[in-house]
C-alpha cells in the first residue's frame, strides 16, 4: 500500500517523529509534504529528520476569550533546512513572540495526534 505524503507525515508525528522531505535530484528540502518536488518536478522524495532549529518569520496573536482558552500564537517558522511551516511558539506569552526569534521544534500530542510546536532557544553567551 502506498501512503499519501500527508498520511506518512502524520503517522510519523503520531509516533513522535518530525519528518520533512528531501529531493534526491535537486537536493532541496520540501515542505509541505508532496508527491513531487516543487523545485524540479522529481518524484521519489525522501523522508528526513530536520534539525528542528528555526527562526520566526512572522507571528500573530489570535484574540480569543479567556473562557475559551485565551489568546494564542500562530507563527510561520523558517526551518534551518530552508523550508517554512505554520506552527505555534509556546513557553512565552503569545504577544512576546518576535520575528527573528530562534526556536526549536518538538512533537506534542493533541487529541491523540502528533503536532509540531516550537519553543524559544535560550540565547547562548556571546554574540549571536
Amino acid at each position: 500500500m502506498h501512503l499519501s505524503a500527508q498520511t506518512h507525515y502524520q503517522a510519523e508525528l503520531d509516533a513522535g517523529r518530525f519528518c520533512i522531505q528531501h529531493c534526491p535530484q535537486c537536493q532541496h528540502h520540501v515542505f509541505t509534504p508532496r508527491e513531487l518536488c516543487p523545485h524540479c518536478g522529481a518524484g521519489g522524495l525522501r523522508w528526513v529528520r530536520p534539525s528542528g532549529l528555526g527562526t520566526v518569520y512572522s507571528t500573530s496573536t489570535i484574540a480569543r476569550k479567556a473562557d475559551a482558552g485565551g489568546s494564542y500564537n500562530v507563527a510561520l517558522i523558517d526551518l534551518h533546512e530552508g523550508v517554512r511551516m505554520m506552527s505555534r511558539v509556546e513557553g512565552l506569552a503569545p504577544e512576546d513572540v518576535r520575528i527573528g526569534q530562534r526556536v526549536q521544534a518538538h512533537v506534542a500530542q493533541k487529541d491523540g495526534r502528533g503536532l509540531v510546536l516550537f519553543t524559544p532557544v535560550q540565547a547562548q553567551g556571546g554574540a549571536a
Partner: protein
Amino acid sequence: MSRIPQSLFDAAAVNRPLRGRVAIAGAATYGCGEAPGMDDMTLLVRAAQAAVQDAGLSMQDIDGLATCSVNASMWTMPVIEHLGINPTYVDGTMIGGSSFIAHLLPAMRALEAGQCKAVLVCYGSAQRSATFGRKESVAARRFLDPQPYEFPYEPVLPVTAYALAAARHMHEFGTTRAQLAEVAVAARAWAQMNPEAFMRDPLTIEDVLGARPIASPLTVRDCCLVTDGGGAIVLTRADRARDLARPPVYVLGNATAIWNRQISCMPDLTTTSAAQSGAQAFAMAGLKAADMDMAQVYDAFTINTILFLEDLGFCAKGEGGAFVAKGGIAPGGRLAVNTNGGGLSCVHPGMYGIFALIEAVRQLRGEAGARQLKQHRTAVVHGNGGTLSSQSTAILGTAETL
C-alpha cells in the same frame, strides 16, 4: 523561503491584439448590504437582470456565462437553469474573490473567436442574512477544502494569513499600525460619499487602533465587512458595445497569477503574485501605473491595499505605508483608491472582485455621483483570492484610451 516565481510569458506580444477588443457594456449591483429573505441565487439573478438591462440587451441575448460560488462547486449549472439561457461559452473558474476579474481574459478570447456574443459575469451572496451563512460555510469548507498543515494550529482564516503578512511588512519596512489604519479611514471617507455603502459613520485612525483585536496587528476595523450583495457585468465585442445603450468601458488588459494556496507556502509574505499579474496586465494594455486615474483594489484587509499599491507599481516595495499616509488614498489624495468605500466600508459578500469592476465602470462612465472623479479615463482593477493566493489585474479605459 523559496524564491519569488518568475514568468516568461510575454503578455505584450501575445495579448496586445486583444487590447480594447471587448468592452463592458452593462453593469449593476443588487441588494448590497443586508438583504434579509434573499439567497445567493436571488441576488445574482436580480443583479444579472439589471446588468443585462443596463446594456440594452435581453437575457435571451446572453450566450456566455462566467460565475462561481463559495459554496457550490457546480454553480454554473443552477445559474444557467435559473436564467433559462443556453450558453455556448461557460467559465466556472473559482479562485476566490479575484475570480470575476480572472473571468475577463478567457471571455475576451471567446468573444473574439466568435464562440459567443454576450458574456454575463455574475455573482451573488447572502452570506450575512442566509440561514446557511458565512459561519456555516466556513465550517463546511474545513472538511471540503482542508489545509492539513495549517488547520491544527487554529489560524482563524482568512484573517490570520493577512495578519501574518501585515506583521512581516511592518518588520521589514517599518510600516506602522497607523499607516494600516489610514487605509480603513480613507475607505470610510469614500464610503461617506456613496449611498450604496454599508458603513458610512465617521472613522478615525484612533477608532481603528482601538477597535476589538482580531489577529495582531489587525483589529476588526482592519477587516472587510460581512454583507450580502449581488453584482454582474455584461461583456460584448467592442464593435457591438458601441451600438448598445451605455458608453462602453474597454478592457485594455487582464492577467492572473497564482503562486500558492496556503499562506505558509507563500514565497515572500511582502510580495504577492499581483507583481506578476499587474506587470502582465499593464504590458497587454501598453500602460503603466502612472497612467491610471484610479485604482480599485480588493481590500479584504488594510494590508492588502498597501501590498497591491506596491506590487502594481504605484510605489516601490516597502513604501506603501508612506504612500497611504496623510490621506494619500482618501478623497483629494495622491491617488483615488476604492472610491466606493471598498470591501472595508462599502460591500463584501464573501467575494468582492465583481464589485471592484462595477465601481470602475461607474467612475469611467462618469456616473459615480458625489464621489465622481474629475479625471476618469483609466482604471486598474485588482482582485485577490484565498489568503493572498490568487491575484488578477484588469486595466480598463474609456474610448479615448483606445
